[in-house]
Amino acid sequence: MRLFLRDQWAFLTMFFIQLFLLILIFALDGYWNPSLISYAVFLCFFFGGCFLAFRYLSNRLVYQRLSAPVRTLEELTLAHGNSPLGRAMDQTFQDQYRLFKEQLHAYETKQRDHTTFIQQWVHQMKTPISVIHLLLQDEDDPRVESVREEVDRIKRGLETVLYSARLDRFEQDFLIEPVSLRRLAQNVVSENKRLFIRNQIYPELAVDEHWVVESDEKWLSFVLNQLLTNAVRYSDKKGSKVTIRSFARGKHVVLEVEDSGIGIPSEDIQRVYQPYFTGENGRKYPESTGMGLYLVKEICGRLSHEVELESKVGVGTKVRIIFFAVVPTLQERKLDES
C-alpha cells in the first residue's frame, strides 16, 4: 500500500493542483457558491478515489510482490494478476527466470562433468600407483623407501581430491550403519602404519571395544585418516605419541585424537575449518593444503557429528568428534532387559 501511494504521488499532486485551480477559477470568476463548490470537490474526490481504488485493486499483486522481500526463486514464476501491467511483469519475470534457469543448468552440467572427470582421472591415476606400489613391494633399498614415501603422499593427495569431489554428491553416497569405533580406529591406524613408522610417531589406541555409533564407515574413516595424518605431521618430536581415545559425555560418545605436537596459534583456531586456510603452521609445513579440517568439518556436519578442537602452541592439539547416535550394543541391551 505504501509503495502504491508513493508510486501515485505524481497523480495525487496533480489531482490537488487541479482541485485547487478549479476552486480558484470558480472564486476568481466571482461565482462563489459553497454548496456547488463542495459538490464539485466531492465529485472530484469520488472519481479520483474510484480511479485509485481501481488501479490499486487491479495491480494489488504487483505492489504486494514488489514490496515483499524475495525468498525463493519460485516466486518469480507466480502470476501478478490480470491487469496489463501484471501480465507484462509475469512475462518478463518468466523470461528472466527461464534464462536464469538455463544458465544455471548449463553451469550445473559443467560442474557435474568436471566432478565426473576428476573422479575418473583419480581412478585412472590409481592404476599407475598400484603398479608402482606392487613393483616396490619386494624391494628394500633406502632409495626405494623414499619412492614409497612419495607414492604414499600421492595416494593421500588423490584420496583428498576424490573425497572433496564426492562431497557435492554426498546425499547419494552414504550409508548409515552401526560402526564400531575400535575396529574403525584400528583399521585406519594400520592403513597409516608406514606414515607412523617413518615419522617415528607411535599411536596409542584407547578406544573401548563396546562403542558403536551410527555413521558411515567410509566417510568416517576418511575423517579419522585426515585427523591422524595431521596429528603425525604436526608432531614434532620423534618418538612421541598420538592417542586415539573414546569416552562418554552424557548420552553422547566422543572420539578424540590427541597429539603432543606444535599446536595451533590461538588466532588461527577460529579459522581452521575454512577451506584453503593454512595459517601459521601452513607456512612452516609446505605440505598443508588447508583442506583437511575443512573436509572433516563438512563431512561431520553431514553425518550429524560435531567437531571440537582444542590446541595449545607447543603442547599439542586435541580434536574430538562427538557422536549423538550411539548404538546400544548387544551386551548393554541384555543388561537393560535383565
Binding site: 600407483i129 598400484s130 603398479v131 606392487l134 619386494d138 628394500d140 623407501e145 594400520s190 617415528q200 567410509k218
Partner: protein, 232 residues
C-alpha cells in the same frame, strides 16, 4: 596346486600379480581377450578368480554374474573403485570379497588363501604352503616352524613374520622400518618391541645351534648371515 584366473586389463598389474602368485606356488590363467572371459573360465576351470571391475566391453559385475551361472568357485574383486555402492554391487553380483587398489601382495595372498580354505577345505591351503629356505634353514610359514637338519623349533606369529622377511630378502639387509611394518598388524609395534622380538628370534636360532645368524647393520637394519656352512 590351485589354479587362479586373473581378469585384469592393465598388463603390468596383471604381470606382477601373476609373478607373485607363481612365486607362491599357484598356477595362473590369464585372459587376453576380454570378450571371452567366460570361455576361458570354462576351459581352464580355475579354483579362484581375481576379477577387475573396469574392463573393456563388459564390466566385472557382468562377468561375475556369467561365471556364477556355471560355477560356485570363489571370486575376488580387485578394483580402484572404493565406494560403498561398488562393494555392495560386487557382493550382490555374487563375489566373495572385494580388494581395493592399490593393494599389498600380502593382503591379496591372505584373502586368496582364506577363500581357498573356505571353499576347498584345509587340505587345499596346506598344498600351497609357503616355505623359505636358506642354506638348509627352512621356515614353514603356515605351521610356524623352523627346521634345520631335522631339528625343529616352534615360532610365534611375529617371530615367523620376522624370519620370513629375513629369509625372503637374504642376503640383503632388511630395514628396521620394513620389519616394523611387517610386524604391525592389530597391535602397533615400537622400536623397543622390535628389539625384543629380534632377541627372541636369535634365541630360537640358537636352539637350532645357529649363532650370530642375524647380523645387525648399523643405521640400517638386520641381515641374515649364513655362519653355519663353513663349520660343516
Amino acid at each position: 596346486m590351485s589354479t587362479i584366473m586373473i581378469v585384469e586389463d592393465d598388463p603390468k598389474i596383471n604381470q606382477l600379480l601373476q609373478g607373485q602368485l607363481v612365486k607362491y606356488g599357484y598356477e595362473t590363467v590369464n585372459v587376453e581377450n576380454f570378450e571371452q572371459v567366460l570361455d576361458v573360465f570354462t576351459r581352464a576351470n580355475p579354483d579362484l578368480v581375481l576379477l577387475d571391475v573396469n574392463l573393456p566391453k563388459f564390466d566385472g559385475f557382468y562377468w561375475c554374474r556369467q561365471i556364477r551361472l556355471v560355477s560356485n568357485c570363489p571370486i575376488l574383486f580387485i578394483s580402484a573403485r572404493e565406494s560403498k555402492m561398488d562393494q555392495v554391487m560386487a557382493l550382490e553380483n555374487g563375489a566373495d570379497d572385494y580388494i581395493t587398489k592399490p593393494f599389498d601382495y600380502d593382503v591379496v595372498l591372505a584373502k586368496i588363501r582364506s577363500q581357498l580354505r573356505r571353499a576347498y577345505g584345509i587340505y587345499a591351503a596346506q598344498e600351497s604352503e609357503r616355505t623359505f629356505e636358506v642354506a638348509g634353514l627352512r621356515l614353514f610359514l603356515e605351521r610356524m616352524e623352523l627346521t634345520m637338519h631335522g631339528e625343529k623349533v616352534e615360532l610365534s606369529k611375529k617371530e615367523a613374520l620376522l624370519l620370513e622377511a629375513l629369509l625372503n630378502q637374504y642376503p640383503r639387509v632388511v630395514s628396521r622400518e620394513r620389519l616394523l611394518e611387517k610386524l604391525w598388524d592389530e597391535q602397533f609395534v615400537d622400536e623397543n618391541t622390535l628389539n625384543v622380538y629380534i632377541t627372541r628370534v636369535r634365541g630360537k636360532l640358537k636352539e637350532l645351534g645357529l649363532d650370530g645368524a642375524i647380523e645387525t647393520v648399523r643405521g640400517s637394519g638386520y641381515r641374515l648371515k649364513v655362519t653355519w656352512e663353513d663349520g660343516q
